[in-house]
Symmetry: C2
C-alpha cells in the first residue's frame, strides 16, 4: 500500500480542535473557510500520494549526480514532478497575494508540507528551502529586492537556498570566514566555501537564489560582523530574467546516509556578485527568520516520515501471517494470524499513532499561534502568538524529530527481517528521517536554545502564559470522560513546573546545570505539550460522541489519547528525576578520560 495522506485527521484538527472558523472574521483567514480547506487538502492528498510518493524510492536509489561542468542532475522524474508542483499552484498556498501567493494561513500550509514531506522528503526539501528564502526577503528585503525576487520565489519558478555552514563552522557561526568586498556599484563580491547546502545546485529551476552569510571586509569578529547577501546563480537582467552566470559553483555532493534525492552541495563563491539584504552586520537576525521557519519545517519532517513509516508498518502487520494470538487464533482458517494480533506489535503501532497524531496537533497548534501573531487584531493575542512561536520552536523541532526517529525505527522493527532489506520502504524512512535530528541546529542545540534563551525571554512570559493556559484548561468543567486526560496533564504540568523552578534556581548558579538538564527538560516539555494536545483532541472527539456521532474515528481518537497518557506520558517522571541530578557527575571526568 502506498502513502495515504492524513486528510481526515487534518480536517478534524482544523475544524474541531483548532476551530479555524472562529477566525473567519480576520482578513488573513477570509479565504480559509473549512469548505475551501477541505477541497485544498483533498487535492493535496492526491497530488502528494500520486505524483511525489512514487518517486521516493527512485530518488533514494538513484541519488543526485554531479558533473565536472558543475551541474547536478536530480533523480528521474523529479523535474516533471517539480513542474507539476509549480503548475498546480501549490507553492503559492501560504505566500503573500501581493507577490502572486494565495495568502492562506500557515496552519493550512502545514498540512500540505507534511503530506509532501511524507510522500518524498528529499524532493520536498527543494521547495521547502525556497520558502525560507522567500520569507527572509519578504521580511528584510528592499522594495526593489522584493519586486524582483518574491514573485519568482513565491511561484517556485526560482529556488532559494541557505548558505550558512563552512567546513570549520556549523553551529558556531561566529567563526565564519566567507568574505564580502563592497564594490563601487553598491554590490559585493563574495568569496568563500560553503558546505552542506541543500539544493545548492539542481536541474529543476531556471535560477537559484542563494542567501549567503558572509563577513564584510573590516567587520567585527564573531557573530556581530555577519551580513546576509542575495547571490543568484544567474544575475537577473533588466527584465528580471536569468542573465549572466554568477561565479557560484557546486564543487561536489556529499555522500549521505539518506535523503539521496536531495543534492547536498559544496558551494564555492569566487568573487560572486551579491547584494546586501537588511543592514550590514545584522545578517544573523534575518538568517533566523529562515532558520526558525526551517526548524518548524524540520519538526514537521519528523512527523511526516513517522506517519509514512507507520502506514507501511501497519499494512505489513495486517498482511504478514506469523504465529498465533496469545488468546486463541484470530485467523483460524489461515496458516497463522496476522502479526497485528501480537500485543508487542500493537505497542509499536499504538506508540506511532499516539506520537504522530499528538505531534501533528502540536505542530498545527503552534502554526496557528504563528498566524495569530500577525493576523489577530488583539495585541495580547499577537504577543502570545509571538511568545509561543519562540518558545515552542525548539520543542517542535527536537521533540518531534526524536520521536519521529523512534517511530521510524519501530516501523522497521514491525517488519522484522524484511525491514532491514531495501525491498521494503522502512529503511529509507529511517535513513531519511535521521538528518532531521541534526540539521538546522542539532537537537542538543535546540534544548540549549530552550533553556538558555527561550525560557527566560521577557521574564519568562511565554512559559508562564503556557502554564496559565494549562491550569485554566485543567480547572475548567469537562465531560467526565476527559478526567484521565486532565489528570495526566496536571501531573506532567506539575513536573514541568518543578523542572522549570529547578532550572531557575540551579541554572544561574552554574550554567552547566542548565546545559546538563536541557535535553531532559525539552523532552519533559514535549511530553507535556502532547498531553495537552491529546486532551484537546479528546475533548473535541467526546463532543461528537456525546452528540451521538457514531463515526468510529472519534472513539479511536479517545482510545489513542488514553494510550498516550497511560503508556507514553509516564516517562515524564523519570525525565524530571534525571534532570534534577545536575551537572556534577556529568562534567566530573577530564576530557582525557574519553
Amino acid at each position: 500500500m502506498s502513502y495515504q495522506a492524513p486528510v481526515r485527521d487534518y480536517l478534524f484538527l482544523l475544524r474541531d480542535v483548532l476551530q479555524l472558523d472562529r477566525y473567519a472574521n480576520l482578513p488573513a483567514f477570509a479565504d480559509a473557510s473549512m469548505d475551501t480547506v477541505e477541497a485544498i487538502l483533498e487535492e493535496a492528498g492526491k497530488f502528494t500520494s500520486e505524483v511525489l510518493a512514487p518517486l521516493n524510492a527512485v530518488g533514494d536509489k538513484q541519488g543526485c549526480v554531479w558533473s565536472p561542468d558543475f551541474s547536478v542532475k536530480t533523480p528521474d522524474g523529479f523535474k516533471d514532478a517539480y513542474a507539476k508542483l509549480v503548475e498546480g499552484g501549490w507553492p503559492a498556498l501560504g505566500s503573500d497575494p501581493a507577490y502572486g501567493g494565495q495568502g492562506l494561513p500557515h496552519v493550512v500550509n502545514v498540512a500540505f508540507s507534511e503530506m509532501s514531506s511524507a510522500a518524498n522528503m528529499a524532493f520536498s526539501m527543494y521547495p521547502g528551502l525556497t520558502h525560507g528564502a522567500y520569507s527572509a526577503i519578504h521580511v528584510g528585503g528592499t522594495q526593489e529586492q522584493k519586486d524582483l525576487y518574491l514573485p519568482k520565489l513565491a511561484s517556485f519558478q526560482w529556488a532559494g537556498t541557505m548558505n550558512l555552514t563552512e567546513p570549520h563552522c556549523g553551529t558556531d557561526l561566529g567563526l565564519l570566514r566567507t568574505k564580502a568586498v563592497p564594490q563601487a556599484d553598491g554590490t559585493y563580491r563574495i568569496s568563500g566555501q560553503k558546505i552542506w547546502i541543500s539544493g545548492g545546485e539542481q536541474d529543476l529551476t531556471e535560477n537559484i537564489v542563494h542567501l549567503v552569510l558572509a563577513r564584510i571586509e573590516g567587520a567585527p569578529a564573531g557573530v556581530r560582523g555577519i551580513s546576509l547577501f542575495i547571490v543568484p546563480k544567474f544575475l537577473p537582467d533588466a527584465k528580471g530574467n536569468p542573465g549572466q552566470r554568477n561565479s557560484v559553483k557546486c564543487l561536489g555532493l556529499e555522500e549521505k546516509m539518506g535523503i539521496h534525492g536531495n543534492a547536498t552541495c559544496v558551494i564555492s563563491h569566487e568573487k560572486s556578485v551579491g547584494w546586501l539584504i537588511g543592514e550590514e552586520n545584522q545578517g544573523l537576525r534575518l538568517m533566523f527568520v529562515m532558520m526558525n521557519e526551517a526548524r518548524l519545517g524540520v519538526g514537521l519532517q519528523g512527523i511526516a516520515q513517522a506517519e509514512a513509516a507507520y502506514q507501511a508498518a501497519a499494512a505489513f502487520a495486517k498482511d504478514r501471517l506469523q504465529g498465533r494470538s496469545l488468546t486463541g487464533p484470530k485467523n483460524a482458517d489461515g496458516p497463522a494470524d496476522p502479526i497485528i494480533v501480537h500485543p508487542d506489535v500493537r505497542r509499536m503501532l499504538m506508540d506511532a499513532r499516539a506520537l504522530v497524531e499528538g505531534g501533528r496537533a502540536f505542530m498545527a497548534w503552534t502554526a496557528l499561534h504563528g498566524d495569530l501573531s500577525h493576523a489577530s487584531p488583539d495585541e495580547a493575542v499577537r504577543q502570545k502568538g509571538r511568545d509561543y512561536m519562540a518558545l515552542m520552536t525548539p520543542v517542535v523541532k527536537a521533540f518531534l524529530t526524536d520521536r519521529g526517529f523512534q517511530v521510524c525505527s519501530d516501523a522497521m522493527q514491525v517488519h522484522g527481517g524484511s525491514g532491514f532489506t531495501e525491498h521494503f520502504p522502512a529503511s529509507q524512512y529511517l535513513r531519511d528521517v535521521r538528518i532531521a535530528l541534526i540539521y538546522e541546529g542539532t537537537n542538543g542545540v535546540q534544548a540549549l536554545d530552550l533553556v538558555g534563551r527561550k525560557l527566560a525571554a521577557d521574564g519568562g512570559r511565554g512559559v508562564m502564559s503556557f502554564f496559565a493556559e494549562l491550569d485554566a484548561f485543567i480547572g475548567a468543567e469537562h465531560d467526565p470522560a476527559l478526567k484521565p486526560f486532565t489528570d495526566g496533564l496536571a501531573k506532567a504540568k506539575a513536573e514541568l513546573q518543578e523542572a522549570t523552578m529547578w532550572l531557575m534556581q540551579n541554572g544561574l548558579a552554574n550554567p552547566d546545570n542548565a546545559g546538563a538538564a536541557s535535553t531532559d527538560y525539552l523532552q519533559l516539555f514535549g511530553l507535556t505539550a502532547l498531553a495537552y494536545m491529546w486532551a484537546l483532541q479528546a475533548e473535541a472527539a467526546l463532543k461528537h460522541i456525546a452528540a451521538g456521532d457514531a463515526d468510529p474515528f472519534y472513539a479511536t481518537k479517545v482510545t489513542i489519547g488514553r494510550y498516550y497518557v497511560e503508556r507514553i506520558l509516564p516517562e515524564s517522571s523519570s525525565r524530571l528525576a534525571k534532570l534534577k541530578t545536575g551537572s556534577e557527575l556529568l562534567m566530573k571526568l577530564p576530557a582525557e578520560a574519553f
Copy 2:
C-alpha cells in the same frame, strides 16, 4: 583515530570483577590464568584493530557481489584477513581441544568476539555463525559427524551457516516447507528455498556446511515435524576433503541497510544431499543450541558497535572546535572550545560509557555462568549457571542491542552534520547495528521469550535465584562509598520484583497482559541487571582505591557507575508504571483502525 580494543576494561572485568582466578582449580579454567588471558587479549586487540578494522569501511562501500555462476565475491581484503584469522589460531580459542581447539572458557572468547565485531561486524559474522554450526554438531552429531566436521569447523577451514528462514516463515518456524526425502543410503534429499542466510555463499573457505531445518516427508505439521540436516556445499570425499558439488545454490543477495560486507543469501536446495543430525522431528532443539549462542553473540554485537561508535564520537568531540563552554573558555588560545565542554555532548558520551561498560560486564558475567554450567564440580552452581543462561539470554540479546542502537545514534548526533555523511564512520555503525535488534528473533520475540517462557521455567527458579543474589549483595557489608549503588539497585530490584508479581497475577488471567508488558519488563530487567553490574564494578574499583591505587581508571569507573545510577536507572520507574497498565487500551482497536 581508528578502533582501539578495550583490553584494559576486559582485564579489569576478568581479574577484578569476575575474579577468574577463583576458578583456576577447575580443569576448564586451567589454561586461563590471568597472565595467559592478558597475553591473548593484547594480541586480540592488535589483530582486530590492525587487520579487521581497516576493512570495515571497505566492506560497507563495496558490499558482496553475486555472479550468475552462483558464486559470491566478498569485499577486497576479506579473503586475506580470513586467512590471517585462521592462521593466527583465533577460531580455536573457545573450541574443544579434542577437535583442535584451545578450550578456553567462553568468557575469554567473548572478549575476542566483541573486539572482532567492533572492528568489523560484517566480517566477524562469517566466523561467528561457523561457531554456531560447530556447537550444534558438537552437541547433537554422531561421533562420525563430529570427527568429520568439527576439526574443519573448529579451525574455520570450513564455514557453517544456519538455514532457517523461508519467504513465508521467519519467527513462526512451524510454517516451514523445505522438504527432506529419505534415501536408501541413509542420506536425505533436501528441497526448498531459504532466505536471509548470512554467509550462505562466499569465497573465504573451501567448503560451507549448511545446517538446514526441513520437514521429513510425512512428518507432523507444525514445529513438531522439523528436523535438522547437515548439507555441505561440497560433499566430503573419502578422505574428508571437499568432493562433489552439492546442489545448494545461492540465487542472489539481499540489498540491505547495513552489514554490506556480509553476504545475505537466498539459498535454493534442489534435492541437495543432506544428513540428519540428532533425532527425526527434534530439529528445533538443536537449532536452539545454535540460536541461543547466536543470541548472545547478537547482544555482543550491540555492545561492540556501540563501543566503536563511542570511540569515534569521543575523538570527534575532543577535536571539533565550536562554541565556548558555558562556564568560560577552556581553550582560550584557540578560536573555540572543543565540543566536549558542552554538557549535552558529555551526556551522550557518558550515556555511551555507562551502557557499554555496564553491558559488557553483563555479557561477560552471563558467559561466565555459561562456563560454570558445564565446568563447575558443584551441581548447584551448574544448575544456577543453566538457569541464568536461559533467563539472561533474551535480556542480553534485546537490551544490549536496543541500547547499542541508541548509543550509535547518539554517536552520530555528537558528530553533527558530519555524522550523516559517509565520510565519517558514524553512519555505518548505526546502519550495521540496526540488524541486531531484528535477527535471531526480534527484540519483541526476546521479550515474549522472557515473560512467556523463561520467567516461569522450573517454577521461577532462575528469577528467584537472581533476586536472592541481589538481596544478598544489597544486604552485605560494603565500603560506604558503595551506598549510592546499593540504594539504586535496591530500588530497581524492588520495581522488578513488583513487575514480576504483576505478571504472575495478570499474565495468567489474560496472556495479552503478558505480551503487552513484555518489552517494558525486559527493559526493566536489563536496567536492573546493569545496576548490579555497576555495583560489582564499583566495588572492585573501590577496593583498588582503598588500597591506595592512584590509577585514574578506578575513579573513572566509580564516576561512570554513579552516573548510570543517577542518569539512566531512573527510567526503571516509568517502565514499571507503563507495564502495569495492562493490555486493555493496547488491544482495544480493531485491526481495521490501523
